[in-house]
Amino acid sequence: MRRFKDLDRFEVLCWVFTLAAILFLAGPVAGLLLSVDPDFFAHDARDPEIWRSLKITVFSGFASSMLGLVTGLPLAWVLSTSSVRVRNTIEPLIEIPILLPPVIAGICLVSFLSEKSIVGGIFSRLGIEFISSVWGIVAGMYFVGVPFIVKTSLSAFQEIDHRIIRTARLLGAGSARAFFTIVLPHSSRAILTGFILMLGRSIGIFGTVVMIAYEPKTVPVLVYHRFVSMGIEAAKTPAVLLIGLSLLFFAMRRLTVRGS
């Protein structure tokens, strides 16, 4: 029934702009994937340097995201039960790491965690150095990623009918028990989404991590390092691996969202 001449000129113009925008967004990634020589990629991907940084990245990503769960969920729960005024003051603070330019977040963290600072000094005495170490990478990833877990789980907690929790309490469950048996299972999907979001953010973060630790190199740093020292062709292998990894997380997130 729909014929082409039915399309209004304005609508055609809209489609042209839309097509341009989609090309702009999809083109670079598609171009990158197409420009990679499979033989070179297969050979280069076996480079131990790449494997080392992949391991570091995935390990630190999971470590920081787990840490994010352990600390972020209690904060979200406390916020969801606290008064509106408290929540409204604290919620914007949680956004700071998202709003802060990554490089500046890096600068902040370096001065906060270096052994000359108070906090860094304490950890240094315990034998934990942050600058140029996996600890620092985990700290940087945690900083830029934890808001995602707090935000997604906070909105899920706020949606829970508080009568259910009260009923559980009336049935004799302590508040810790109510939290673990009622609140967490009810929000499991949102929490999982937050976890995957944080994981994706942690693994991809460059600006913050490069300030804290150029060495050991995470994959995003390796991409930059190879680009600067060996040129764009050499940077493509880790870049493709990184894109593949993040697309995997993206697909997982879409699946969890669709499931709800």
């Binding site: 489609w15 925008a21 990158l32 904060l75 500046i104 808001p147 697309l247």
Partner: protein, 274 residues
């Protein structure tokens, strides 16, 4: 009865403990999120700040960052707004894939995005050669910076504008069509004004994202330096003491710009609705 009371008070005590632990854990995060920023600002001596503020390299890079991000937002809004409108209103094949593509730049790490973009516009690529022949260079100039900024920040505008258009009741557009307005006129007199608030906040968001971008820009265009690149370089070459004042100034300037934009935005929204 006695037992009951005791167990009740025991439970209360227990509840208090859980809340206490939770609050402590939560407080730790808050501390970790807020303290580094505060520390940076407090640790920055006034004389360093003054010196950095007087440094033309710093002021020039801040100015460059502001205008490139603003220009990128304006230019790309022209295609992003129609796209959001179509996404909000029309059903078309492969719509799921299109929404996935829109989120792509948010998902992929920025240094990888930089490599991908550079591959597209570098010398020897189709687009790069084409623009070189036209005497126009992406790499090493503001155009490259804008491209990189727009690439990583466009999705924020698209998503905000799409939500804005979705919130406009379709009935209003139909009523306007019924009164004889052409689709273009309906778009400009009904849909756009009603979605304006969302579009504007999407543009501010995109602008902010573009300004703070480092990973993609540093790969596409190191020179001229936008402020995040400048901070990176000063940190690498001279150390924390030289990077800190620039960071503080940049954060302060961005904050001031956003407060100003919000203020302007509120005024324009009020003007729209009057």
């Amino acid at each position: 009865m006695q037992d009951r009371l005791r167990s009740d008070s025991g439970r209360l005590h227990h509840a208090g403990l859980t809340t206490l632990i939770f609050s402590l854990l939560g407080g730790l995060i808050l501390l970790f999120v807020v303290a580094p920023l505060l520390g940076m600002v407090l640790h920055c001596p006034a004389e360093d700040l003054a010196k950095a503020a007087a440094d033309p390299a710093v002021t020039e890079s801040i100015w460059l960052t502001l205008w490139t991000s603003m220009a990128a937002t304006m230019i790309f809004a022209v295609s992003a707004v129609p796209l959001s409108y179509l996404l909000a209103r029309k059903q078309f094949p492969l719509k799921g894939i299109v929404t996935g593509i829109i989120d792509l730049p948010v998902v992929i790490p920025h240094s990888a995005a930089g490599i991908a973009l550079l591959g597209l516009i570098s010398r020897g690529s189709l687009l790069g050669d084409l623009s070189d022949n036209l005497g126009f260079h992406f790499i090493g100039g503001p155009a490259g910076i804008m491209l990189a900024m727009a690439y990583v920040s466009l999705p924020f505008l698209i998503n905000a504008a799409r939500d804005g258009f979705s919130a406009v009741p379709e009935r209003l557009e139909k009523a306007a069509l019924n009164l004889g307005a052409s689709p273009a006129r309906v778009f400009f007199t009904i849909s756009m004004p009603l979605a304006w608030r969302s579009i504007l906040s999407g543009m501010i968001l995109m602008f902010a994202r573009g300004m703070s971008e480092f990973g993609a820009v540093v790969i596409v265009t190191y020179h001229p330096m936008i402020t995040p690149v400048l901070i990176y370089e000063r940190f690498g070459a001279f150390g924390l003491r030289y990077a800190r004042p620039v960071s503080v100034i940049f954060v302060a300037v961005s904050l001031a710009v956003f407060v100003f934009l919000r203020f302007l935005g509120r005024k324009s929204v009020n003007a729209q609705s009057q």
